[in-house]
Every structure is written in structure tokens, then in C-alpha cells.
Amino acid sequence: MKLVQKTTRYIFLALLPIALGGVFLLDYFIHQTISDEIDELLHREYEQVKLKLRQHPPEATTLRNWDHNLQITIATTPGSLSSPILADSTFVDPLDNELVRVRKLLATYSVKQHHYVITLHQPYLEFDEIAHILSMGIIICFLALVSFLLLFEAAIFQRIWRPFYAIIDQLKMYRIDQSESVTFPVSDVDEFALLSQSLEKMIRRAGYQYRQQKQFADNASHEMQTPLSILSFELDLLQQSSQLTEADLHRIQRSQHTIKRLSSMNQSLLLLTKIDNQQFIQNESINISEITNQLIENYADYAAHKGMILNRIIKDGPYRPMNRQLAFVLFSNLIKNAIRHGSPNTSILIQVTSHSFIITNQGDPLPFPEEEIFQRFVRNQALPQSTGLGLALVKEIADQYGMSVYYAYASSIRRHIVEVKFENESEPKK
């Protein structure tokens, strides 16, 4: 729900009881006032009647009765009422022959041995109408005020929050690897100006760190690989000498092995750093079954050499947005791993379904605790060429793309199972 809708809703909810209460209160006050007015009117008329009776005490025969709102009758005994009684009553309007609500004043009065009973009527008719019109007018005014307030609020909101949405748009467009700096819209609202400033600062800092890290990775790569190249070249030239004994040649070969291992470890560590630093931003739609098939072809000779059969159950697709290089590292590490650690003359099964990649190979149980399998530098000490980084890279890449990696060992059939689930169920990413 948008902020503007939320505040409008709260304002509306707050206004509703006030409006309802107001209607009843208003109604009560109007009626109260009108009743008071009518009563006052009746009292005044009663005073006038009394005055007239005092001045000209009429005889019973001359009691004029032309005002239907006033009735005077002669009583034989003095009235028992000390003060006039006011009451609501009904009365038939002689004009339109309708029953109307009236206020009635009943009093007794004595002038010199003459006793009178005075009844005064005052219809509510006009007063009700006035109350009705007043109420309607006020309700209309109130509704108009509320709707105007809501409209005004919406308009103000749009205006005030405009810089906020502009900032959000800028943030959506922002990529950490872009070279140009981001400028956020200027706002005269202090809060937004503060937000813009803080974001600009934060982005500058993040960008700086990103560039530093990237440069470090590049430099480390260059500074390490170049001396390794020199070593390797020198050894290669040395190897060509005809005066070397068998032992010398083997020494050279071992050195070359170590150089190769150092180099690949360096590259793997740099790759991990780059993934951590999110330097692989260029994504494309990767066909996982295509990559898997290609890798299986590439490793066919190696597997055949170990007498292994690569079985595959591969469904077409699925497509995932990934960096091509990382996709290759992810799946080739898994396949290479299965071949390297698998027992000779067994089979490897590679399955690609629409939601996962599963590879299983037969082999001895892990020489280290199962939960450490994806940690860096955890490796089988019996294989000197292993860097212990292959599966760490797999995990890192999978994490990068919201995939999850599971490992299990089925001891009854002595098979290692590694599964890459493409969608991370707990927190689906875009």
C-alpha cells in the first residue's frame, strides 16, 4: 500500500467517529435550542393572555375562541396547577386536516372569582424544517470539507514525495561498476536532502571500495602470473638441455607441477575474490543443458581413461541468467570433481531437470566431515594436485545466483550426490 493511501486511510478513520458524533450532537443541540425557543414563545403568549384576562375578564359567554392555538375555558373551581405545564402533544391541523406535532402549555388562572383553564399550542412544523435544513447544510459542508482535504492531501503528497521517487529511480538504475557518479535530485525538504546526501556518500564509498578491490584482483593476478610464467619458461628451456639426467628431468617436472598448482590456486582465489566483490555483472541467459553437454564432451577422454561411463539424463533447457564464465566454472568443477574423486571403472550420472542439476559418482566416503565439503582449502590430502577450492567456488557461484547446493553420501551404494537447485526456496531472488 502506498504511503499516501495509508495516511488517507488513517485520516479517514479518525474523521469518521468525529463526523458521526458531530451529527448526533448537532441534532441534539438544534432540537434542544428549538424546544427552548418554543417554550419561551408559549410562556410569552401565556403572559399576554394573562394580561388580557386581567384587563378584560370575559364572561363565559363572551369567551372568544377564534385562535385555534389558544383555548380558554372557564372552570368552576380555582385551578390546582401552581405553574404552567409544558408537554409534547399532537393536534389536528384544521387547514390540511393532518396530525402535527405540537408543544402544549396548560395552565390555570384566576382573575377576581373567575377561573380559567388556558391551553396554548405551538406546532413544531417550521422548526422541524429549519432543523432539517440546518442539519443537511452542515453535513454537506462537512463532506465537502473532508473530500477537499483528501484531494488536497493527495496532491500535496505527489508534490512532496516527487524527489523521493526520483531518488528511488536513480537507485534502480545504479550499477556498482558504472564509471560516472550518481547525482540525486536536490530537494528543499530537509529529510530528502539528507537522504540524497547520505546515499551519494554511501555510493561514492562503495564505488571506491569496489574499484580498489577490482584493481587489487587485477594487480594480484598480473603480479603473480608473470613471475610464474618466467619460472615456467626458464624450466622449459632448461628441460631442453641434453646433459640432464632422469632425476633432473623429474625435478623439473615436479617444479612445473608446483608452478601450475600455484597458478591455478591463485586464479581460483582471485575468482573467489571477484565473485565476493560482485565483479561478474554481465549476465546472459545460459542454457544449462547445453553447457552440461558441452562439458561432458570435453571430459569424455578423461573419464574414458579412468574407465568411467558418463551417463546423462538431460532435459532441454533450463535457462538461467548467469555470467557465462561462472556458469562454466560451476558445472565443470562439479564434473571434474566427480571424475577425479570417482573410483575407476564405475559410472557417473549427470541429471539436468528444469529445477536442478544432480551429479552422482561412486567412491570412498569423504576423509573429512561432510559439512566442511564446501569450505575453502578442505581437500583430500591423498590428492596432491587438489587445491581444495573447486567446491568452494561452486558454492560461492551458486550463492551468487540464488541457487543452493546440497551434498549427500549414500553409504549403501557408496555414491556421492551433489545437487544444485536453481531456485533457492527459502529466499527466491529476482
Binding site: H222, I230, L249, I252, S264, N298, D301, Y302, K336, R340
Partner: protein
């Protein structure tokens, strides 16, 4: 064949130069962007091997400069960065090949030879070693004018050895060339033995002398010497 080597690391430059001169190339060198840019402008080379990380500039700019001048030279990038993006942008600029450091010298030689062969569009180019004649355009091999039926891997193996004849090639170098990066870290290169044995068998069956010599289990040499 004239080659320009552009590399800022002096040790690396000297070693590569010596090695390539032994392979009968005419080698010029440049150790800075400035020098390289000048040489590329003033002379014509058949092949340029360029390190893209130079102290005073980016090797990619040299490639741009060459392409602007419509140079026919083959271009091989050598880089310490094993990055697909760099590789793609280099190849997009018009480079012909991309080698990641550290690489092996015989591999560099093979890449240069292969590039030069692709550049020579004129007619049938062929490689001869003793009784063996190879036709890289058609991926064919003849021994004493008799065609030999080789698998793709055996052919690649033989071509690599003929290109780097009379040199001890360690098993790692050969394996990486024929099977590519997929074989890195592989604990055992013994499987190369099977392929070499099959190749030898096929060649011998065609009456070819046994040129492939094993050297103490370290590697192989293709040589006509006894």
C-alpha cells in the same frame, strides 16, 4: 617471419625472444606502450604478440591502432587476466588469439604457427617432417603418400609435435594443448600415454619410422635422430 613481442617484464621478454628466435622467427621487442606504438607504426610484422597490461598504456589500444591502419598482421594477446570479458573484447577488437599467463612456450609457438597457416590463404600449405606430410587445411596426414586415418585428438597431438619438433614436450604441455584447460589440475596425465601409443601404432603400421621418443616418462620428443 617477422614477429613483434610487446611485453613489459624484461625476463619474460628475453626468454620468449630467445625461444622464438630458436624457432627461426625474426623477433623484435618492445617493452613499453610508447615503443610498441612506434614500432607498429614504422614497420610491418607478420605477427604481433602483445601483453595487454603495459605500464604506460593498454595493449588493446595497440590492436585498435593496427586495425585502423588495416594491418594484415596476426595478433595474439597474452594476459595475466583469465577473464572471459577481456578475452571477448580483445577478440572483438580483431585479435586472433588469447593466451592466459602462465602458458607454455611450445603452446605459444603452436598458436603462432597455426595463426600463420590460417593467414596464408594461398593454395595448399603443408608441413613435412621426415616421412610425414601434414595438410592442416584438410586435417589430413600422409606417410609416404599413403593417407593415415587419425582421430581428431591424435591429429592434434601429431600436429603439435611436428610444430615443436626436436623439443622435449612434457606431458602437461601436450595434454593442455590437446585437451585444453579442462585438464588443468588433473592428477594423472597417464592417459596421454594411451593416445600416444595409439598414434605411434597407426604411424608404424603405415611404415613410418618411430619418430616419437619417450623421455624418462617426463614427456615426448618428435625427432628423426636415432
Amino acid at each position: 617471419m617477422k614477429i613483434l613481442l610487446i611485453e613489459d617484464e624484461p625476463d619474460l621478454l628475453v626468454t620468449m625472444q630467445q625461444y622464438l628466435e630458436n624457432e627461426d622467427y625474426l623477433v623484435s621487442t618492445a617493452s613499453t606502450f610508447h615503443m610498441a606504438s612506434k614500432k607498429v607504426n614504422d614497420y610491418i610484422y607478420d605477427c604481433i604478440v602483445v601483453d595487454i597490461t603495459l605500464p604506460d598504456g593498454n595493449g588493446m589500444s595497440i590492436i585498435e591502432q593496427l586495425k585502423e591502419a588495416h594491418s594484415q598482421a596476426g595478433i595474439i594477446i597474452i594476459s595475466a587476466k583469465n577473464s572471459l570479458d577481456d578475452k571477448l573484447s580483445g577478440l572483438n577488437l580483431g585479435a586472433d588469439d588469447y593466451l592466459t599467463k602462465p602458458f607454455y612456450l611450445p603452446e605459444l609457438n603452436a598458436r603462432i604457427r597455426s595463426l600463420m597457416r590460417r593467414r596464408q590463404h594461398l593454395g595448399e600449405s603443408q608441413l613435412v617432417f621426415g616421412e610425414i606430410t601434414m595438410f592442416p587445411n584438410r586435417k589430413e596426414v600422409k606417410v609416404a603418400n599413403q593417407p593415415v586415418d587419425l582421430t581428431a585428438k591424435e591429429y592434434a597431438l601429431l600436429l603439435f609435435m611436428v610444430t615443436n619438433k626436436d623439443r622435449l614436450l612434457s606431458k602437461e604441455v601436450i595434454a593442455e594443448h590437446v585437451w585444453g584447460d579442462y585438464m588443468d589440475n588433473v592428477d594423472s596425465h597417464d592417459f596421454l600415454y594411451t593416445h600416444v601409443r595409439n598414434l605411434r601404432k597407426k604411424m608404424l603400421a603405415c611404415g613410418c619410422p618411430d619418430y616419437i621418443k619417450s623421455r624418462y616418462g617426463v614427456g615426448y620428443v618428435l625427432t628423426a635422430d636415432k
